[in-house]
Amino acid sequence: MSKASISIGGVTGKVPVMEIKNIVLRFGGVVAIQDISFDIYEGEIRAIIGPNGAGKSSMLNVINGFYHPQEGEVWFRGRKRAAMKPYQIAHQGIARTFQNIALFKGMSALDNIMTGRFTHMKKGVFSQMIWKGSAEREEYENREIVERVIDFLEIQHIRKTPVGALPYGLQKRVELGRALAAEPQLLLLDEPMAGMNVEEKEDMSRYILDVNSEFGTTVALIEHDMGVVMDISDRVVVMDYGKKIGDGSPDEVRNDQAVIDAYLGVSDN
């Protein structure tokens, strides 16, 4: 018996899911993002890295509609996207996690992940009032999908624990679960490994890789921990002071002089 080489990531082709074109974002006089363009291919893991304050988070916030850039365009699935509210973007199939865990503290892990199914649940208020029948059926159909996510992330034992009572690492996992439950076409991860120890980072990397390969989910992630990112991503955008200073495969980026100067040379975290 032999084991085939395991390809990292599930890149199916070079079909862009999302194209970012010449985005400029200003807060008052401060320019957070300065003329940035890049694209995200179907099925790849795309990383955006850069030192603190480089504008990574702002970029993510532009992608999912929290910030509206003054200039530039966002293309999703080959069509230019009009200015949208974040919840409309969620309905388009973009899910995300947050750097400082944004779970719903008053709910159990299960309920938190169930909220991820929001965009897939269509039953109206009146059928929910009656519950028996269609609303109940819809609830349990979605519960099944959520339970698969729970199984995937190996958090069965905390299913009914209020998330506030969970340790940090598990909260991160629940949050990832919430995003996964949405079965997103594009999954945005905002520093998924922030504040984790080495072991937790390894776990999280494994989950990200598994998500990518098992479900073929396209992943875009922000991280300032270079090491992990280089290992798991297919392509990397490097940002510094709101500008793009590098873009390419991890190897290309690692050897890029501008990146070394701006990023690798100055900081080790």
Binding site: F27, N61, F66, F98
Partner: protein
């Protein structure tokens, strides 16, 4: 000048005077909110309680007389003495400081790190408690408060303004209550004193430090509990002043605690953390509701003061959620 215009001026003036009292109550709110993040619903009841205590002490009433009589079948009502206003005020201040200490010891200490909404609810509970307690202690009858501030219309001002009207118009001069003027002056002095206190004394600086950044203040060794007692004492003092003014004007009774509610729209306009905001907001609300009642009130049945302030604040906030002096809120993700 036409009489209508003069009437308008008079309404505005009176409104501003009322606004000063709103502002006084709002000031107490702001002080506590800034220092501890607590939205103190009990501020109005504190004013009532302070005024009740003041009257009770001044007139030498026996505390809990009602209760004592009911329990022991006695008929005690008054001691044989009355106190001069100054002494009564001084004693009331002491009572308010004691009150602040009790609040800290019995309530705040146990609610550290709770969510703001919980603290807010606690102050509502406190308000209920104080209302019952104040009434039980001093009786629920309407009391007259007289601390020696002159009252009644200012004849001098009436005489001054009577000639401003154009010839042939019916105008009898502007009415302005001397008490309101006193109130305005005292409020001004109070704000000045508070400003000086917070700028130039050690405690005041500590207070500002806490308001700016709780954690940082704690880490440089400022005792949060000390600060809480301090700020509740000051608020108690401010409540006393407000209660005194309002009590002198319309008697010390339950409805006094409702002026606290009026301070809420003031706060919405001015922002929960801004002392100038509280004052400007108070003046706008005061003048605004009087003007509205004067011009629109008769058309729709009157008594619009009941709700105008809230609706004004509501509409204002819809268009400017950060209030008059607040900074634009950028939501961080």
């Amino acid at each position: 000048m036409s009489a209508d215009f003069l009437y308008t001026i008079e309404v505005i003036l009176n409104g501003l005077m009322a606004g000063v009292l709103y502002a006084l109550v709002a000031l107490g709110f702001v002080l506590i909110f800034k220092a501890s993040g607590i939205f103190n619903y009990a501020q109005g009841v504190m004013a009532l309680f302070a005024a009740l205590t003041l009257v009770g002490l001044q007139e030498g009433r026996v505390p809990f007389a009602h209760l004592i009589n009911a329990t022991f079948g006695t008929h005690v009502h008054n001691f044989d003495w009355t106190l001069p206003a100054v002494a009564a005020i001084a004693l009331t201040v002491v009572v308010m400081v004691l009150f602040a200490i009790c609040v800290e010891k019995l309530i705040l200490k146990h609610l550290v790190n709770q969510e703001p909404i919980i603290l807010f609810m606690a102050t509502i509970g406190l308000a209920y408690f104080m209302e019952g307690f104040g009434d039980l202690m001093w009786g629920s009858d309407v009391k007259k408060l007289n601390v020696g501030i002159p009252q009644g219309g200012s004849l001098w001002f009436e005489d001054l303004t009577i000639g401003w009207a154009a010839e042939g118009e019916k105008f009898y001069g502007m009415y302005i209550d001397i008490l309101d003027v006193w109130a305005a002056v005292i409020a001004l002095v109070l704000v000045l004193v508070l400003t000086i206190f917070s700028q130039y004394t050690k405690s005041g600086r500590a207070l500002r430090a806490v308001a700016d950044d709780h954690q940082a203040a704690l880490s440089v060794g400022i005792s949060l509990r000390m600060i809480w007692v301090l700020v509740w004492s000051i608020s108690g003092f401010v409540a006393l002043v407000a209660g005194m003014m309002w009590g002198a004007k319309s008697g010390v009774q339950f409805s006094l605690s409702l002026i606290a509610l009026k301070a809420l729209p003031v706060l919405m306009l001015g922002g929960f953390t801004s002392i100038p905001g509280a004052i400007v907001g108070g003046l706008i609300i005061g003048a605004g509701e009087k003007l509205f009642e004067f011009f629109i009130g008769p058309l729709i049945g009157g008594a619009t003061e009941n709700w105008f302030a809230y609706v004004l604040a509501l509409l204002f906030l819809v268009f400017r959620p950060q209030g008059l002096f607040g900074e634009k809120i950028i939501e961080r993700v």
